[in-house]
């Protein structure tokens, strides 16, 4: 009985995508990365009607009750899809009713909750479309902004706003803001490419999801962890929704003497993988008769293994704090 309850709480995804897992990670983002434990009442709303707060002081309390009930529902796996829909709609409403609260990452999180609520099997394109819209919107806006083309944006960004030592060291070696232009173009091309590929390249979707992780990780490292843990976290987590998640479709041949793999097997709570013992020391995964070995196989396991992925992603968001001071010290030797 107790075991079944724990099983239900830990692993809950009966649909073809790990929606509850993603919802829970997004709740982690809301509460601990964004620190949104109390929803503020309306203030300078985008639409006139939410500004009814002064005559109805109970309204913010009501909003917060719905917020916490939805979070609790998702966490204990009680009607998680319905509560995701409620949470998504509520967050959109709260953003519409409070201009100050508006942020791209919060709005994107609200959209994903809303889409999780409306998801049905076979509809995974909705998440790819949402991520594609964000990247295409961001890429097009940058492309049409002259400061991105002339390098003005990136030079100011790296020199004045984030004081990126690596940039300050390398940029003066080249003339005409060349490095700033190159960096700007790289970001624009990456965003536009990600937007297009995620929509149309189903065969290479795993590589695209890895690329999304690397792209945001690079930005995080480049800016000393300042830009932005929120964005890295939500883009990385939500990109998982683009992967094909068919239960027990990935077979892992592993050596029991390897403590990491032993740990991964024990923490495969929802028996997602088929584990096969072998005396061979090379890690091997098989999916739809495609065999992968070594680091690539390990990477695939990490992205599909929920507990390992959660540990990985939560660790990564704190790495730049430790990594970049060393890098900066090294670069300052040359300055």
């Amino acid at each position: 009985m107790g075991g079944k309850l724990i099983q239900k709480l830990i692993s809950s995804d009966t649909l073809e995508l790990p929606l509850t897992f993603i919802s829970r990670l997004l709740i982690f983002y809301l509460l601990f990365i964004r620190g949104l434990k109390i929803l503020p009442g309306p203030f300078l709303p985008f639409l006139p009607f939410p500004d009814i707060s002064p005559p109805y002081p109970l309204f913010p309390i009501f909003l917060n009750m719905i917020y916490w009930i939805s979070i609790a529902g998702i966490l204990i796996n009680f009607q998680p899809k319905r509560f995701s829909l409620v949470l998504g709609l509520e967050l959109i409403f709260v953003i519409l009713s409070n201009r100050i609260l508006y942020s791209t990452s919060l709005l994107f999180t609200a959209c994903i909750f809303f889409l999780i609520g409306l998801y049905s099997n076979g509809n995974s394109w909705i998440f790819r479309a949402q991520i594609a819209l964000l990247y295409l919107g961001a890429g097009i806006n940058k492309l049409l902004n002259p400061d991105w083309i002339t390098g003005q944006f990136f030079d100011n960004f790296s020199r004045e706003i984030f004081e990126v030592k690596t940039y300050q060291f390398i940029a003066p070696l080249f003339s005409d803001l060349l490095i700033a232009k190159l960096m700007g173009f790289s970001v624009i091309i990456t965003e536009l490419l990600l937007g297009i590929l995620i929509l149309f390249s189903k065969k290479r979707i795993f590589s695209i999801v890895v690329l999304i992780h690397l792209f945001h990780l690079f930005i995080l490292l480049f800016t000393n962890g300042d830009l932005s843990i929120s964005f890295f976290f939500i883009m990385a987590v939500n990109s998982l929704l683009c992967l094909p998640w068919k239960k027990r479709s990935l077979e892992i041949a592993f050596n029991e003497n390897n403590p990491v793999l032993k740990f991964l097997r024990k923490t495969d709570f929802d028996s997602y993988f088929i584990w096969k013992k072998t005396n061979n020391f090379t890690l091997e995964t098989t999916s739809s008769s495609v065999i992968e070995t070594g680091p690539r196989a390990f990477l695939r396991i990490l992205f599909y293994h929920k507990a390992a992925y959660a540990i990985l992603i939560l660790s990564i968001i704190y790495i730049p704090q430790y990594f970049n001071p060393f890098l900066n010290k090294f670069i300052s030797l040359f300055l």
């Binding site: 203030f43 300078l44 985008f46 500004d51 201009r99 100050i100 508006y102 791209t104 990452s105 709005l107 994107f108 959209c111 809303f114 889409l115 409306l118 049905s120 509809n123 909705i126 479309a129 949402q130 819209l133 964000l134 295409l136 919107g137 961001a138 097009i140 806006n141 940058k142 049409l144 902004n145 400061d147 991105w148 003005q152 944006f153 030079d155 100011n156 960004f157 020199r159 004045e160 706003i161 830009l227 932005s228 964005f231």
Partner: protein
């Protein structure tokens, strides 16, 4: 069942078209909301507010608009202007405030925007 599926699909499509509309609409506006523009334009700013003979302290300005002062806007300086404009035409419409927004977008030099109802 079929009607629900159709309704769900319609809602999802409307949801996406609204976002596409937001991206297009924002091209014609100075403020940038609902159009997926994270860190496309960075402005540092300082707000000065004066009502009658009283010049507000930074903390009073933060309390008034609920944004940092001095601060940094990571989307468009038009967003800060929209906050000031909306506040001064609604909650603060009787105050007769004169507001100066001194800002520097993408390091291109300081500019000043002035709000006064009349």
């Amino acid at each position: 069942m079929c009607i629900f599926r159709l309704m769900r699909k319609t809602i999802i499509l409307i949801f996406f078209f609204l976002q596409i509309g937001g991206i297009i609409y924002s091209r014609f506006r100075e403020d940038r909301y609902f159009c997926w523009v994270p860190y496309d334009e960075i402005s540092t700013y300082k707000i000065v507010v004066k009502i009658a003979n009283h010049t507000f302290l930074n903390q009073e300005i933060t309390d008034r608009y609920k944004i940092e002062n001095p601060g940094r806007e990571n989307r468009s300086i038009g967003n800060v202007k929209s906050i000031i404009r909306q506040y001064e035409t609604t909650y603060g419409s009787n105050d007769g405030a004169i507001v100066l927004l001194i800002y520097n977008t993408n390091g291109k030099g300081e500019k000043t925007w002035i709000w006064a109802e009349n």
